[in-house]
């Protein structure tokens, strides 16, 4: 086998095949003029939405990426039902975060601060409302700040959920920490290492358990949370982290993996809490990325595997909603941004309503004529 170098050049390709589809650079599809700042779609639930940020420090373990940091620092963004609709809208991200994200993703078709001017629907530090609210932990994809799931977070909060979105420090191009420090993507240095994904999701599970431990003492509104009703939802490796967290922490009762290659090792005896795979064609049964096929057999409780026709990896995030503002023409054949957001919000909320609110959702039992894009795997989806 004197063919190591030759084989190694195929490395990026092979590695990519094991991964969830990466963000396409799409430089070739740039349209001439960005349209100006984006406005996120209005939340669909009845409640106004408030948002606030918490900064937590776990001194019980060193940071997994920054060897000079003796504690793991985390930023948690909360979205929650609020008393009032008026007040200052929360910023989407800082200009610096926007710049680091665009630079990291190699998007040069719009000014670097563009994303910081995105208009959100949540009121900054609004007074929370409601009681006995279920909690949803959100975890973003690798290199992506938590804010890239804002559209979903705001919608869930408007439907009566408290959402705790975790910025897993050093796993994103930009996380602003107290004192204006900006943590960049240290984990990006080693993401080609074997076992990288498996290690990362274990770290995220520890992050999530710490957030659940700290929430009561760190947020004034925490008394409004029903701590017996907690779920976790994530995109890409954040989705795989949902399973990793559930395996580690019984407080997380249900979970959704949105288009994430699965890294967490499920015991051979199986796993019985409710779990849903929601993905793009990359994750059809028998497709090129077989980790969902592997884990599907090990899920012994309530489970669904839904693939959205026309979805791509970012369809479950805000990215398509921001394309016009960035001057990026959508790829042909891909779900329009508004439709992708609607489908994501609808199926995620249906799952959470069924498992955290105890409201049965026929939408999850069979294909729907309103949402013909949703294919139920493994029965009615196959590689194209």
């Amino acid at each position: 086998m004197r063919r190591l170098l030759a084989a190694a050049t195929g490395l990026a390709l092979l590695a990519a095949s094991a991964c969830s589809a990466p963000t396409p650079p799409r430089a070739a599809a740039v349209s001439p003029t960005p349209t100006g700042p984006a406005t996120l779609p209005a939340p669909t639930g009845p409640h106004p939405v408030g948002t606030t940020a918490l900064y937590l420090k776990d001194t019980s373990r060193p940071d997994p990426w920054n060897l000079d940091a003796e504690a793991r620092e985390l930023k948690v963004t909360l979205w929650y039902p609020a008393k009032q609709r008026d007040g200052q809208r929360a910023p989407y991200m800082t200009p610096k975060e926007s710049e680091l994200l665009l630079r990291g993703t190699q998007i040069t078709s719009a000014p670097y601060d563009t994303l910081s001017r995105t208009r959100t629907n949540s009121i900054k530090d609004a007074e929370p409302a409601g009681r006995s609210l279920p909690l949803v932990v959100l975890s973003p994809g690798f290199t992506k700040p938590m804010s890239t799931l804002t559209s979903l977070a705001e919608d869930l909060a408007s439907r009566g959920y408290v959402v705790a979105g975790v910025d897993h420090t050093y796993e994103s191009y930009a996380t602003t920490l107290p004192g204006g420090r900006v943590a960049e993507c240290l984990a990006c240095d080693s993401n080609s290492d074997p076992g990288f994904g498996a290690g990362l999701v274990q770290g995220r599970a520890a992050d999530v358990s710490f957030v659940l431990d700290q929430l009561p003492s760190k947020w004034d509104g925490a008394g409004r949370i029903d701590r017996s009703r907690i779920a976790m939802v994530g995109q890409s490796i954040g989705g795989s982290s949902a399973m990793a967290s559930m395996l580690e922490d019984p407080r997380v009762r249900a979970g959704i993996d949105m288009d994430g290659t699965a890294y967490a090792r499920i015991p051979k005896s199986g796993f019985s809490r409710p779990f849903m795979f929601l993905g793009s064609a990359q994750h059809v049964s028998g497709g090129p990325a077989p980790t969902w096929d592997r884990d599907w057999k090990l899920l012994t409780g309530w489970k669904r595997w839904i693939v959205l026709s026309g979805a791509e990896h970012q369809s479950f995030t805000d990215t398509p909603l921001l394309s016009d503002a960035l001057g990026i023409k959508p790829l042909p054949g891909v779900l329009p941004a508004a439709r992708a957001a609607e489908l994501t919000r609808t199926y995620v909320a249906a799952f959470l309503d069924q498992h955290l609110k105890g409201r049965r959702q026929p939408l999850l039992d069979q294909p729907s004529s309103r949402y013909p894009e949703a294919k139920f795997c493994p029965e009615t989806c196959a590689p194209s």
């Binding site: 004197r2 030759a6 084989a7 990026a12 190699q106 290492d193 290659t261 890294y263 090792r265």
Partner: protein, 472 residues
């Protein structure tokens, strides 16, 4: 030529690892594609389909259009090699045919291909159940006929269905004759055969330990008259190979002999062991172990050294490159740039000896520290590029054993229509003195081989020698 398949399968396991970030743009080792018959893959290849005669045709013309590393391949010799393998495969299946006769070739590329394809169709028309097997055998042989270690065809790259990121597949052990040697570099293997690492799986369950001498494999001797035998290859089964492997073992410390039967399979590995760059201070020496020159590895290594330097006066660096079997020339050159400036680290040359020099990046800060590099037969490819540059440029000293001699040149992947990958080197590699390193390897300045006794005791004499040299 199972080698290619084996290499590819191993890599798939190893590399399936990473995830989700946008894949880094290919660097260094990849050249630009030429020709229209085949193109580099864009993104992850789709699901593999059967190898048809059309795929063989595509690969044949892809080679003729894009292989520039060595002498221009003789098209007729490629087709002859392909046909030879095809008749051997017929024979192995007990299905030889009276008209399985090599067609006459004229030297006209297209006409010769047409003649080959006609003969293939005539044969497979009579043994339709062997059709795919014969095409695979022919294509493997055509690629092997290039006699270039970096020319390969990756196919049947399957993963065990229960594979999780970071898992290994096999018996769960490494021996002093490593997997790539066992596959094609037996000539350099030295007796006795012994376990160097127990990784997990069957080997761990059976209580194997480093230093255990392997006296026989499936009843066959690993060495006959001091020469390694192919029996050693059975130590490294690759998925889907799953036949149990019987080993006779001698533990020298106790004199105890025993037999174990190891079932190949997936095994869980320690995630910390899989990190490609690891570092620690050994008193005033920065020790950095690097298992692959993956993208960004040079910067990771240098950051690790700078970190160890903070609050400490370092008197040297040990780079442990044992078992470092792959990576990018860009990283090797970048790393060398921390130890020497204004130098050429290697040449990449076409068949016509038009050479491109790989120069140090003199924007990289010089460390200004003495360097010792630990090498062994597992140091291949970019690792040898680095080792030969260290030696030729006197940037440091090499301790251990000779490197693998597997550095033919940077390869370009091409996607075939059945979603398999053909890797073809565009250029061949030469060291800083324009010497050939491929097949020969780089000899250490200080020869310190590993013995079973040292492996059993966990003694690392090569590292000890490195520290002595740096403290002298």
């Amino acid at each position: 030529m199972t080698a290619v398949r084996v290499a590819a399968a191993g890599l798939a396991l190893l590399l399936a690892a990473a995830c989700t970030a946008p894949p880094p743009p290919p660097r260094g080792e990849t050249g630009t594609a030429a020709g229209t018959v085949c193109a580099p893959p864009k993104g992850a290849p789709g699901k593999e389909t059967a190898t048809t005669i059309e795929v063989v045709e595509q690969a044949y013309f892809c080679i003729l259009g894009n292989y520039h590393s060595g002498a221009t391949p003789d098209a007729r010799s490629l087709l002859t090699a392909g046909f030879t393998a095809l008749t051997q495969e017929l024979n192995r299946n007990g299905r030889d045919l009276p008209d399985a006769v090599m067609p006459t070739l004229t030297g006209d590329l297209k006409a010769d291909w047409a003649a080959f394809e006609t003969a293939y169709r005539k044969i497979t028309g009579q043994v339709p159940d062997l059709r795919d097997k014969l095409a695979v055998a022919a294509l493997e042989a055509i690629v092997a006929a290039l006699d270039d270690e970096h020319a390969s065809w990756a196919h049947d790259v399957g993963q065990p269905p229960d594979y999780y990121d970071g898992d290994g597949y096999g018996l769960g052990l490494e021996a002093n004759v490593n997997a790539s040697q066992a596959d094609g570099g037996l000539a350099a293997a030295v007796p006795p055969l012994f376990v160097t690492t127990v990784q997990g799986g069957a080997a761990q369950a059976a209580g194997l330990r480093p230093g255990d001498v392997i006296e026989s494999i499936n009843g066959s001797a690993p060495f006959i008259d001091g020469k390694a035998t192919r029996a050693i290859a059975a130590l490294y089964p690759r998925y889907p190979q799953a036949r149990p492997v019987e080993l006779s073992l001698l533990r020298q410390s106790t004199g105890r002999r025993r037999s174990v039967t190891l079932q190949p399979g997936l095994f869980q590995r320690d995630l910390a062991d899989l990190q490609v760059v690891r570092s620690k201070p050994l008193d005033d020496i920065a020790y950095v172990r690097v298992t692959s020159f993956l993208p960004d590895s040079a910067d990771r290594i240098l950051r690790a050294v700078f970190r160890l330097r903070r609050g400490r006066t370092l008197s040297g660096v040990v780079l442990d490159l044992r078992g470092n079997s792959s990576g990018s020339a860009t990283e090797a050159t970048r790393l060398l740039s921390a130890f020497a400036h204004g130098k050429v680290t290697a040449y990449h040359c076409t068949a016509g000896d038009t050479c491109q020099s790989l120069r140090t990046d003199d924007t990289v800060e010089l460390l200004g520290l003495p360097l010792v590099v630990l090498t062994d037969r597992g140091c291949a490819s970019a690792c040898e590029h680095f080792a030969s540059a260290v030696k030729d440029l006197r940037a440091g000293r090499l301790v251990g054993t000779r490197t693998a001699g597997m550095v033919s040149g940077p390869a370009q992947p091409y996607l075939l229509t059945n979603n398999t990958i053909l890797n073809l080197p565009a250029e061949h590699h030469l060291g800083p003195n324009r010497e050939v390193v491929d097949r020969i390897g780089v000899p250490p300045d200080h020869y310190v081989p590993l013995t079973p006794e040292d492996a059993a005791a966990g003694r690392d004499l090569a590292l000890a020698e490195a520290l002595t040299l740096l403290h002298r």
